[in-house]
Amino acid sequence: MKRNKSIALIIGTIGLFWLSTCLFIIDERQVGVLTSFGNPIKTIDTPGLHFKAPWPVNEIQRFDRRARVLNLEPTEAFTKDTKNLILQPFVVWRIENPLTFLETVKSAEGAAAPMKDVVQSRIAAVAGQIDFNQFLNTTSQSDGLLPPSTLNEISKEMNRFGIVVLDVQLSHLGLPVQNEQSIYERMRADRSRIANKYRSEGEEQSVTMRAKADREASNLIADAEKNAADIRSKAEAVAAKKYAETYQKDPELYKLLKDIDRAQSIFEKGGTVVMDADKRPFSTVMSLREKQEAPSQ
């Protein structure tokens, strides 16, 4: 009797477990595909508790329905004007049609390889259709380095895997190492050209400023000298007029005083003086000397 009870308990427990496979949970992050004997039947889209036929009639396959990112390795590509670039893209994608997804790539790992091929070949194709300065310029207002059509084209190709591509961007845009050198040389040359320009501008402005200052200074001095000469000559003219007016009053007296002054200035020089006593101013002063000397002789 007890043995029958134990067996019944075991069978009952197994039965319960088996029946529990009729229940399944899909959570907010997942989408499910119901299969019947391994064949996909339908998508279970709503999160929560669901029912199905017990195993092995129905099974549930769950997928992460959320957006995810695939970072790809850098690859080299040529632009339309034959410049080579190193492009490193990333892809943001999610599962749109779980049935198709299950039938084609079966998993995210399985999706990586075809996605990589599609993205790299499409980007290389796009690069070949545009010039270098459409990638790099200072005027475009676009959101990304790649043309906007790139995303649509890639997404269309990935549709057949039940995948929708939400974004494709370049995380890095670079140059092959050997091309970097020529960029560096150009950067150096540009900087040194501008440095020379600054230095020669400085030189030029300095020379101009100094020359201008020198000119202004010499003009100032020249004007002052002219002014000074004017002042002197005006004063002399006034004085000469005054002298003339005065001496005109008695030319004889003037002659006397003038001769004495002239003789004085000659004698002030000192030394030996040979003078012609008949000529003025000596004749004037000698007139008295004879008188002076006469008494003493």
Binding site: G48, G174, S192, Y198, R199, N227, D250
Partner: protein, 280 residues
Amino acid sequence: MSKALKVILILVPLWALSGLMVINTDEVGLIARFGALNRVESSGLRFRLPWPIEGDQRLQVTEVKTIELDKRLALTGDANLVEVQANVQYIIVNPIDYTTQSDAPNQLLRAISEGALSTKIGRVGVDPDSFINRSKLQQAIKSATQKKSDELKLGMRIEAVEIQELNAPSQVIDAFYDLSSARGDKETLILSAKTYRSKLMPDSRGKASSLVEKAKADAKKIQTDAIADTKRFEDLLETWKDEPQAVKDRAISAFWKKAAPSLNIMPVTKETEVYLESKP
């Protein structure tokens, strides 16, 4: 049987109370019922039904988190190469989106901010004077990243993008340093010319002014001399009119008194000339 009942009577309440939660002040709790999002609980002591009926997930929604992007080379819009390193700071503002729209939101944010960084640097030029406007670039990257984050429904708000390093690569940095010292050289040359000028002008003005002052002084002397001389003459004129010979004698003897002692005078007249000639 009663033993099993006792066990059940202990386990069931424990299981029922396993749904008690303490949610911290900087967190929220997302409660799902059979996997389906049911409600969001804020901080405090909260209750949910026990597993497998309900489950909870905690998220920090007030803390500002930082992603450090790797330092790398980037191409600018005018095909120069620069080294750049930036950090992105964000905060979770929509915990539901954050957990349900992307599988690794931080990883996704890193990718889209790298993308925004490459794009925005690829649209900016290097100015010879100011290199690159860092704050403008930060702002551009921040808005581009926020836009993408919103499109992809990451549930994040980008608080800031901070560019920690943005400079010319080490291979060309010396050329950039020389450029900056060339700017300095230009300034120095102009400044020394200005200094020259600012010294020269006052000096010259001083010189000019003293030339004029000297002329005025000379003019004054000429004037006073003229006045003195003419006065002397006019004073003498009175006496001269009365006694001309006396005045003449006085003047000449005054002259001799002054001039004679230091001189050796040899007056030569027509007679003495003959005399001199005939004397051996």
